[in-house]
């Protein structure tokens, strides 16, 4: 459904250099993740066994970004790590967003008592420092990629609840909500078919920016040993593992860190570009 304002928004987006840079970086990362098997030079190095003849080798023509302590190609492992990171982000957001948005919609639209209860519940979750929460959850359940995802999901949904709550409160004042009420539409209809479509641009923009931040938090957790375990290639773990060998085998830390930078910055720039385009539309 083409809206008159939408084309102006898209034009603004395509003319925005940082948005395009973001898009390029994101495209790069997504492409790498999707086609990891095809483009990684040494797919088997994603596992536990590397090239023992080339352990801790500096970047060369053969191993473009060098190898780690058991001879595994760093470039390959980074590509697979991207795949894992994106999977985690997608899963976290796919679960956290619907929960958060639903809570926010209900809190913003329903009566004062329900609203108060829901938003205080949200506040409780927001009050807990994310890493502490993650550590408790993964301390309780054994550390793994899946438990890491669960932990991040639990700390993530309240942000969407807040966002959806604020948007809903604003939209509730609009005439079309009053019109739907007087026509007799049901509350679920009003929330999900009338109000929610007006919130989706902001929500989608936030989701895009959040991909980068989820990856950052996930990397921080696995840096602390709370996420994916060996031999799974993971950006945070790779930074942690390589830290010991600085500054001699600098490539073991620097390249994974740069990889994190690229993906976070890419999604951030893309998300900002979308947000600016959305402002143009309004």
């Amino acid at each position: 459904m083409r809206l008159a304002g939408d084309s102006a928004a898209w034009r603004a987006f395509w003319r925005n250099p940082s948005a395009l840079v973001g898009l390029a970086l994101v495209a790069l990362v997504v492409f790498a993740a999707l086609f990891a098997n095809l483009i990684a030079p040494y797919p088997s190095h994603a596992g536990p066994v590397g090239d023992f003849a080339a352990m801790t080798a500096a970047p060369s023509a053969r191993y473009l970004l060098g190898t780690d302590t058991i001879g595994r190609d760093l470039l390959t492992r980074l590509i697979f790590a991207y795949r894992l990171s994106l999977e985690m982000a997608v899963v976290v957001l796919a679960v956290a967003t619907p929960i958060g948005v639903t809570v926010g919609l209900l809190g913003g639209y329903l009566g004062p008592a329900t609203s108060y209860a829901l938003m205080r519940l949200t506040d409780v979750f927001l009050a807990i420092p994310p890493l502490v929460l993650a550590m408790s959850i993964t301390g309780f359940l054994a550390p793994s990629a899946i438990h890491g995802m669960m932990a991040i999901t639990v700390m993530w949904w309240p942000w969407y609840a807040r966002l959806a709550y604020n948007l809903t409160r604003a939209e509730k004042q609009e005439g079309y909500v009053l019109a739907a009420e007087t026509v007799g539409a049901s509350t679920p209809h009003i929330l999900f078919r009338e109000i929610l479509p007006n919130c989706t641009p902001a929500i989608l923009t936030k989701m895009t920016i959040d991909v980068g931040f989820v990856i950052l938090i996930a990397s921080s957790m696995s840096f602390l040993g709370l996420g994916a375990q060996a031999p799974t290639p993971d950006l945070g773990s790779m930074v942690a593992d390589g830290a010991r060998y600085m500054p001699d085998a600098w490539w073991l830390t620097v390249f994974p860190a740069l990889a994190i930078l690229i993906v976070v910055m890419g999604f951030n720039l893309l998300g900002d570009g979308l947000r600016e385009a959305a402002d143009v539309r309004d």
Partner: protein, 278 residues
């Protein structure tokens, strides 16, 4: 003498403002609307007219008094869907009243889906009929509200209200935000629809000139109280209260005859100084 369609009986509404003050939006207001009649409610800001509309539509409940529709008490209780259909609203601002993320067709179709009117496969056809009835081409169903002018938007809002097959339309300043030429067209459309469908109108506005041509009865609200009510001709020939006279005297007019008519109501003593409160 037919029974009234809607009666508002001794209705008062008080609520707490954000600052914690007790606000009396309406005090002991009694009004009725007969079937097929256009009853105008004249009120400025602070008169309680929007509160009255909200009460009649069942969005809020009276603090005292009751509201009957076709003799049945409807205030103070949940309204069945069939009753919600019978009383519909046209708002002042068509831009806000239409969801910019839904097409015109979806908006007009909503009542049909909510109330299960007609076979599902025929509802789009019904939408086209309704759009034609309000003077819009049926292919507007695929457009979004952003592409519409103010007058067209108001027509869509009217089509949506008509989709409910209502008996009473509450119109809250329906033409106040429209240009003069557009306003005239919308007023003509409203007059036509009322004739053809036998609808009753509760026409809320501050503009006495507009109601002179379309309302059979006029009631004047001032600060939550009903200060005057009567047949339109009486109100214009011999308004009883000072407030009504002041309203009549304030309207900007364009012809000599109207100026002479109006100047009867202008007192030489100028109300001086500040008007009340914030």
């Amino acid at each position: 003498m037919t029974d009234p369609l809607l009666t508002v009986e001794g209705v008062s509404k008080r609520f707490r403002s954000a600052a914690g003050q007790d606000v009396r939006a309406l005090s002991d207001v009694s009004i009725d609307v007969k079937p097929g009649e256009c009853h105008a409610i004249i009120g400025e800001s602070g008169s309680g007219k929007s509160t009255l509309a909200g009460l009649i539509l069942g969005l809020i409940e009276p603090t005292a008094g009751l509201i009957r529709f076709k003799g049945v008490i409807v205030s103070g209780r949940r309204r069945p869907l069939a009753l919600k259909r019978a009383i519909q609203l046209i708002q002042q601002n068509p831009r806000s009243a239409l969801n910019s993320r839904r097409t015109i067709g979806q908006s007009v179709r909503l009542p049909l889906d909510v109330h299960g009117l007609g076979k599902r496969s025929l509802r789009n056809e019904r939408v086209a009929e309704l759009l034609r009835e309000v003077g819009l081409p049926p292919d507007y169903a695929n457009r979004t509200p952003r592409a519409l002018s103010g007058g067209e938007g108001q027509r869509v809002a009217i089509a949506r209200a008509l989709a409910c097959e209502p008996e009473l339309l509450v119109l809250d300043e329906p033409t106040s935000s429209l240009d003069v030429l557009v306003q005239a067209r919308v007023l003509q459309l409203l007059a036509l629809i009322r004739r053809e469908r036998g609808l009753a109108y509760l026409f809320i506005t501050h503009d006495l000139a507009v109601v002179h041509g379309i309302a059979e009865r006029v009631s004047v609200l001032e600060k939550g109280e009903l200060v005057e009510t009567g047949a339109t001709r009486e109100i214009f020939d011999s308004p009883r209260t000072a407030y009504t006279r002041r309203l009549l005297g304030s309207i900007p007019v364009v012809t000599e005859e109207e100026a002479r008519f109006r100047d009867r109501f202008r007192t030489s003593a100028e109300p001086d100084g500040e008007d009340a409160g914030a």
